[in-house]
Every structure is written in structure tokens, then in C-alpha cells.
Point group: C2
């Protein structure tokens, strides 16, 4: 910038004014500066800018597992939207550790991000909440609930409608004993799914549902499925609350020699690649993950530019498949 000023024969403060779009500059000055900028191929040092003005043009992204396809898609959406607005994305992956969540929030603060998109591993973790209360930049939760005292925007999925449609379909087929093999109830999506299923089941008096919460892991799916199907009164339909969980459920069903949908109907979550080549085709509740990232980025930019916090809801959709059929008998 000093070089630019020298070449243009003006003061650095004038160069700064031109480059930051200050309206109080003469056209002559602007031209001379822009010529020098072009000649030198100059670009502003973002660290120095961030240091002085606080405008680091960076946003943080915090999720449990960046390798999870839903999260990866959301991050891609966020990157695109932020890039179009001159912002960069600092990314983290807590691997489910609540300590890392809290650490990352503080670390993002120390890097002076202007905003943070986050999916915490545990909505009630004290250290995480402490760190969030100290956090001063813009905050946008991705499909998470958060305490009233925290000022933040949010983008959430309407898990209820998708789940209700799935349950309705199963009830219509004649199922009366359902099971939901669910993720951790300490985060919003799992809670919403459980509530939705419990509520939707009420339409039919004699229908029951057992909800088994646990981690978002194959082993949880495996164990829960074995326990459920081995019980005195096994479910005739299983709703699976996560991709990882599904792996375990499928493995357990194979081991038990149970056929889908002959022995048990199955509803899964989110499309998996090549799902159309799995036989039977899998009924599932889907959503648009890229959009979550794009919207999250829009909301965080809105807050950075002085907007007021708001929550946006995204739909989920139930898609029928051969994995759901009338129960035997």
C-alpha cells in the first residue's frame, strides 16, 4: 500500500480511502490510485485490515463431523455463498467432543471471525454454552436449539412434517408396532424426530412406537436393532434416524436373516448415493443439505451487516420406497 501511494504520489490514507470505497475522494485521486493498484497488482493485506478494523472477512464453521455427507454438503453451500461476498471460511470438526466444541468457539473468537455457523455436539453442555455467551460475533445455529439469552439466527429443518408423513404411510399400510432407532436426544434433530413420531402415532389408538436414542453410530444401530427384533413383541416397521445408524441396522437385519420389507419395513434418513440400485429401494425422509449451508451463510452475512436475528425453517420430505410394505399376518 505504501508502494501504491508512492507510485500514485499520494498519501497512504488516500489509497486506503479509495480502496475501501469511501465516497469522499475526487475522481482524479481515484483514477491515479487505481492505476497504481493495477500497475503493481496490489491487493490488500487481509490480516492487517482485520487487525486494524476488525473486519477479518472470515466466518467459522463448526460441526460434529465434516466428513458426514450432510455436513460436507452444507459446508459447500456456505463456502460458495461466502465466497461471493468476499468472505473465507474457517472450518472445524469436533468429532463429537464437547470440549473441542468449546475450544473451537474460543479459537474462532481469537481469530476474530466476524461470524460463526455451528452445529454443537451437545446443546446443553455447560462449557459450550459458556463459550457461546462470551462469543461476541454473529452466531447462526444449524439445526440446533439454543437458550433465549443467546442472540443468534438459526436455520432449522422441519423434521416433523417428513417424519409424520412417514408414520402416516406406515400406519396406512397397517403397521401398529413401530420403532425409531434415533440419534442423540441432546440435539434438536433427534428430539424433533422423536416428538414427531410420538405425535403422529396417536392417529391410530392401538399403534405404539418405541424410541431408542443413542449415538449417531453404526454400533448403536446394530445393538438397537438386535434388541428390538429379539424382544417379545418386535416392531413391524423401523424408522432409522441417521446414515451411520442405518449401516448398523442393515447389518443386524442381515445377521438376523430378516428380509425387508417381508419381515420388517424400513424408513431411512437422507438419500444415499446409488440408493436406486439397492434392492428393495429405500423409503426415506430427505432434505436439502446444501441449502442449509447457503441459507446459514446468508443469515450470518445479514447479522454481520447489522440485521436482527431470525430463524428460517427448511422442509423435509417423505419419499416412498419398496422397503415399506404391509406387515405380515
Amino acid at each position: 500500500m505504501k508502494d501504491v501511494a508512492q507510485r500514485a504520489g499520494v498519501a497512504v490514507s488516500s489509497v486506503s480511502r479509495v480502496l475501501s470505497g469511501n465516497p469522499d475522494v475526487s475522481p482524479v485521486m481515484r483514477n491515479r490510485v487505481m492505476d497504481a493498484v493495477a500497475a503493481l497488482g496490489y491487493e490488500k493485506d487481509l490480516i492487517a485490515q482485520g487487525m486494524r478494523s476488525g473486519a477479518t472477512s472470515s466466518v467459522g464453521f463448526m460441526a460434529v463431523d465434516i466428513a458426514n455427507p450432510i455436513i460436507a454438503a452444507a459446508s459447500a453451500g456456505a463456502i460458495r455463498e461466502l465466497r461471493n461476498n468476499g468472505y473465507s471460511l474457517l472450518i472445524s470438526s469436533s468429532d463429537g467432543s464437547t470440549e473441542l466444541d468449546a475450544d473451537y468457539i474460543r479459537s474462532f473468537q481469537l481469530r476474530r471471525v466476524e461470524g460463526l455457523l455451528l452445529s454443537v455436539a451437545d446443546e446443553e453442555d455447560v462449557r459450550t454454552l459458556d463459550a457461546l455467551e462470551q462469543f461476541t460475533a454473529a452466531l447462526v445455529f444449524m439445526d440446533r436449539a439454543f437458550p433465549r439469552n443467546i442472540k443468534a439466527s438459526a436455520v432449522v429443518y422441519d423434521h416433523r412434517s417428513g417424519m409424520a408423513a412417514a408414520v402416516d404411510h406406515l400406519l396406512d399400510l397397517g403397521h401398529r408396532k413401530l420403532a425409531l432407532i434415533n440419534g442423540a436426544p441432546r440435539v434438536r434433530p433427534a428430539r424433533e424426530r422423536a416428538n414427531a413420531v410420538r405425535q403422529a402415532i396417536r392417529r391410530v389408538k392401538e399403534a405404539t412406537v418405541v424410541v431408542r436414542g443413542g449415538s449417531y453410530s453404526a454400533s448403536h444401530g446394530y445393538d438397537a436393532c438386535k434388541t428390538l427384533m429379539g424382544s417379545a413383541s418386535p416392531p413391524t416397521a423401523i424408522i432409522v434416524g441417521g446414515n451411520q445408524i442405518l449401516q448398523g441396522v442393515m447389518a443386524a437385519l442381515v445377521e438376523l436373516g430378516l428380509k425387508v420389507p417381508d419381515d420388517v419395513s424400513l424408513v431411512t434418513l437422507d438419500n444415499v448415493p446409488l440408493a436406486e440400485f439397492i434392492s428393495p429401494s429405500l423409503a426415506c425422509v430427505t432434505r436439502d443439505p446444501v441449502n442449509m449451508g447457503t441459507l446459514g451463510a446468508e443469515l450470518v452475512l445479514e447479522l454481520i451487516n447489522g440485521g436482527t436475528p431470525r430463524t428460517v425453517e427448511l422442509p423435509t420430505t417423505f419419499v416412498r420406497g419398496e422397503s415399506c410394505a404391509a406387515p405380515r399376518g
Copy 2:
């Protein structure tokens, strides 16, 4: 830091020395400073530190599509390794645009990252290469070739061994007309796969292979598969060079009413989730993507700490599956 100095009754320069682990500090000084740090919960401002010393403790990650499972897994590995060393990751996703590649490289430079892990979209793009020559921080290529004049480390896959094993298997089964539906030849992995297949085929004199390069997209897979199978002398076995491509190939085969492996054998790339429930099971060439990220991070840290550039090779493995059988006839 001023507050810490005041509370400890020492100069800020001394606080700085203590916190940066300078050995020339008395134990008394160290204790007083650390007490004040603990009492105030002080942590260093990373922007200011980066501004002054250039040590931003940040690394960039640039790939074509962060939502691609292979890339997402690699980024997760890199994040973990970098986090353990006090580094943060700035992430980008060029969506295959070579202009964005060049822009991102410059942008990372302006953010003064200490290093960059990258998979460029086009190894020969002039703007990208220009940007790379200007780049002054540590550089680690992920499965990409790069010109001699660029000093960089690299982590690459040994695609040849996996591909050769796949071809050997197909030849052993009796296949003589193979096809490789490949990705873009402007990046290393596609080139390596093509070379490996062409070389491995030589073992059997009358064996031939046709290689169809293109984009890493479903539409390329679909078009190439339709063309190949509709030709006068269609292949009896297809090797698919990418996940996205596979989607299109599978769709085309379904449309053509061709059964795997009865009508054509199939070898795919990388495990897909729930692959074990796809019938027939898919033979594939696999690799460990997380490890690519972990190693990439190790190499970049090595360079940052003054190490010399080096290249590490990671294996690929051929896994048999029901999708490969003897050709009809």
C-alpha cells in the same frame, strides 16, 4: 496483554517472551505472568500475532469439491492433525473452476496462511500455475503433479497397483475387451489410471482397452457407457474412474437393460456407503482418504518448520466383488 502486564507488574515485552516460550526468562517472571494470565483468562490475539510475526497458525485447503466424500474425508484428517498442532484450516471449494483455483491461491496468500494443501482442478492451467509461482508459503499437493520449478511436498496415491490388480483379475476371468470410463486427464489420478490400465493390458496380446476421458460427472458416465455399449464391438468389462461417473454408468446400464455381471463386468472406485447391500457386490479399487489429509497436514507442518519438500505415496487396493465374472460366450 497490556492487562496481563499491568496485573503482573511487568512490561508487555516480558509477557510476550513468557507466552512465546522464550528461554531467557526468570522463573519468578514466568510465574508472575502465568498467574496473571490464569487470573484474567487471557489468550493471545492470533490476528495481531499473525500481523507482527507472520505466524498466523493457519493453513489453507483447496479442492475441487469439498462435498465429494473423498475430499471431505481428507479434510477431516487434515483438520484433526492441524488442530493437534495449534493450526486452523481455511477451506475452499473451486467447483472445478480454474479461475477460482487461482483466485483462492491468491486469497490464501493475502490471508497469510503458513501453508496450503491443494488439489487443483487443472494441473496445466496457466493462471493457476502463475498464482502458485507467486505463492510464498509451504505447498503440499494432494494427488496432483506439478512443475519442477515449484518447490512443494506431495502426497499421492499409487493408482497403478490397484488398477493393475483390477485389470489382471479381469484378464484372468477371460475378458479381452475392456473399457475405462475415466475422469479428466488434466489431473494426475485420471492419467495414472489410464496409464496403468494400458500397461497392464499388455500382458495378454489380444486384449484391448478403450479409455474415455471426461469430467467427473454422472452425465459423462452415462454418455460414455451408452456409446461404448452401443458400439460394434462393446467391451465385456468396464472400469469406472469415479463415484459421480459410476452413477451415470449404472443408470445407463439399467436403461440398456444390461445386467452386471451377466452382460458386462464392472469395477468401481472407492467404497460407497451401504455398498454391501447393493447386489451384485461391487468390485472396486479403494484407498484411505482420511490418511491423505492427515499426511498432507504432517507434510505441510514439516515444511513450515523448515523441512525439505518430499513426496509420500499411499497405496490403493483392488477388492474383488460379484460385479466381475467371466464374459459370456
